[in-house]
Amino acid sequence: MIRAHRLEKSYGRGDSRVVALGGVDLEVEAGEVIAIVGKSGSGKSTLVNLLGGLDRPDQGSLEVDGHDIAQLDRDGLARYRRQTVGLVFQSFNLVPTLDALSNVALPLVFEGVPKTERRKKARFLLDRVGLSQRADHLPSELSGGEQQRVALARAMVCDPRLLLADEPTGNLDSVTAEAVIELLLGSQEDGTARTLILVTHDDELAERASNRVVRLVDGRVAS
């Protein structure tokens, strides 16, 4: 599913240059649930950005589900983000002017799916995350946990082969976080061989939720 070889990414130039990833090798099989852990600044988010097609590596190769991320043009990357990957962020990143249902349906807009069809699918997913009653609420009218559940439903609306969750419980209390993790893991149970990558700084959560833990230290895989 994922083949990363000597992935390098740095930001800035000259003296202010910061190496975020310094040659990461990683292989993940389809359907696998892995956790990427590491301290702040270890390169976790950079790796998620590369895996999510939000950014390109400076060096090395990254192949996800047959797509060579480094070689994709801007439209190709947009299509990859739309069709192959689902992203869940720590700060939810919902569009504040759209209600929950429209937020969930948003990725389908870019796929050109007719309105009735995308609303039907969004409603189904909202139901799955237990928010069918909150479909017409704006993000500002939802709790943090509810917003993250909406974000999770949105990440799954295009049936992605890869689900990337970057600190999905970082802004949630422990009870709500547990519920969100349950939903994330539950997303594996719909019969698709979806790969789940959970990025967290919580070792205990990583151990409990994943089949394998990948630890990043200073932009390199430590274990």
Binding site: G52, L54, A78, F89, N93, V109, F110, G112
Partner: protein, 499 residues
């Protein structure tokens, strides 16, 4: 991303910043309003001028006047040779230059006058339908039982068709009748006939015309030709004739203490006409038609006209050549000028005035375009602010798979929608504002001229709002290009961290 979704996104964007969007639209409105009013007024003035110059036969008439001479190069070369032979030094140079600059050569080459045989030459030109001599002369007109009074005679070609709308009683003169005339109802009123039935009873009566004038000058006051006695081209021989006639008339006038009667002729009144409609007054006949009391066919009027010795010598002061189609007027003018005559046609004057109006309209429209350009800068500013405020949202859309072209289209659509909004409000306001201005303009025109405007001052033909729509939307779209580019260039990684 489908068009309907793009519209939804654009509207959602506007609704979040209603005040700013409304102000931006207002800027476009002002520009569009000014542009539409100016172009509409320009169009209205062009329409008015066209209407004025298209009345009656205006565009088919060519006013032909006697020419100074026929171009004769061989005569000119002959004269230059004479100068070279007879004159020396700087005077020779100056004289040769003077001869070369004179189009038709010296006066001695001969003036091309409008004698009856010349009219036959004019009739033979291709596309010429009719040649009417311009004869406007004053006579003492008398009907039995009434006091004689002065009246103006006008020769009128194609009388049957041209008088048809004006006839209030009787008929137009017969084509071959030597003695039939038509009189104006105002002249009958001035005779003392205040009742229409009384006036009608005069149809069939005899009208006696007596020449009371020195002849030849009637047209001068009507169409601005110089008085014949003042024409520089009149030869010595002709001057003598003029002087002789004038002296004779003066002598008679002195004797009788009034107008000198030199001849009388009787005619039969076959019809009575009223005043023509404004749209039937051809440009070159406007003042004459508005003054004439009596109308006769050209050959009848010519007979009267040539009774005067001077008139026989100098020919008609002018003729109206009527062409079959306005499009052929220019070719006929060329052919007339080839004969050494002067020719003017309304189409030429109309074209010149219209070109002038078009240039003025375009120049003034440029000012309103400046207002639109300023409004476009407002759109740039509004959308650039929008990109800045929506950076995170743009990042989210990108993270969810929005393509560059989706975002580009979204912002271009927002720009064009602002343009459309400005156009729409501007169009309605332009129309509403034009109504009172039109009414005031009409009222002032009527007060000043005593006539009605022949066309709308502020017409809104379909192409005007269509063009304004195109300009406003194009400007809005172009103004959105740079903000759209900024939106496309938003880095999703940075944008998602943006608060």
């Amino acid at each position: 991303m489908k068009l309907g979704d793009l519209f939804s996104f654009a509207f959602a964007g506007f609704s979040r910043r209603k005040g700013r969007t409304a102000l931006t639209i207002l800027g476009v409105t002002v520009g569009t309003l000014a542009l539409m009013l100016i172009v509409s007024l320009g169009q209205g003035l062009r329409g008015q001028v066209t209407a004025v110059f298209s009345t009656g036969e205006s565009l088919r008439q060519i006013l032909v006047r006697p020419g100074n001479s026929r171009p004769d190069k061989s005569r000119r070369e002959e004269e230059i040779e004479d100068i070279e032979k007879n004159v020396a030094g700087e005077l020779q140079e100056r004289l040769i230059r003077a001869v070369q600059r004179r189009r038709g050569g010296p006066r001695a080459y001969g003036m091309v006058r409008l004698q009856p045989e010349r009219l036959e030459e004019l009739s033979a030109i291709e596309h010429v339908e009719r040649v009417d001599p311009i004869i406007i002369d004053q006579f003492e007109m008398s009907v039995e039982g009434f006091e004689p009074s002065l009246g103006t005679l006008m020769a009128l070609g194609d009388a049957e068709a041209r008088l048809a709308k004006r006839l209030v009683a009787g008929r137009a003169p017969d084509e071959d009748a030597q003695d039939e005339v038509v009189v104006h109802e105002l002249w009958l009123y001035r005779l003392g006939l205040t009742d229409q039935d009384e006036q009608k009873s005069l149809v069939g009566s005899t009208l006696t015309l007596s020449s009371v004038r020195e002849g030849g000058g009637g047209l001068a006051s009507l169409i601005g030709l110089p008085d014949l006695s003042q024409l520089a081209e009149v030869s010595e021989e002709e001057r003598e004739v003029v002087q002789r006639v004038i002296d004779r008339f003066r002598a008679q006038s002195d004797r009788e203490e009034g107008d000198a009667v030199v001849s009388t002729e009787s005619f039969r009144i076959v019809g009575i006409v009223g005043e023509p409609e404004e749209e039937d007054l051809a440009v070159f006949e406007r003042s004459a038609l508005a003054q004439a009391d009596l109308f006769a066919l050209p050959f009848v009027a010519s007979k009267l006209y040539f009774r005067a010795e001077l008139n026989r010598a100098v020919g008609f002061p002018g003729v109206l050549v009527v062409v079959d189609d306005p499009e052929n007027a220019e070719a006929v003018v060329d052919a007339v000028e080839e004969l050494g005559l002067q020719a003017n046609y309304a189409g030429e004057i109309l074209e010149e005035i219209q070109s002038f109006l078009t240039i003025v309209t375009l120049l003034v429209a440029l000012f309103s375009l400046t207002a639109l350009l300023v409004a476009a800068l407002g759109i740039v500013n509004t959308l650039a602010m929008s990109v800045l405020e929506r950076t995170k949202e743009i990042g989210i859309l990108k993270a969810l798979g929005a393509r560059d072209k989706d975002l580009r289209r979204l912002f271009l659509l927002e720009g064009s929608m602002i343009g459309f909004g400005g156009f729409f409000v501007g169009w309605i306001l332009a129309f509403l504002i034009s109504l009172p201005i039109e009414a005031i303009g009409r009222s002032i025109f009527e007060q000043e001229t005593g006539r009605e405007l022949l066309s709308e001052l502020f017409p809104f033909p379909w192409w005007l709002p269509a063009s304004a729509l195109l300009v406003a939307m194009l400007l809005g779209t172009l103004a959105a290009v740079w903000p759209a580019r900024r939106a496309v260039r938003v880095d999703p990684v940075r944008a998602l961290r943006y608060e």
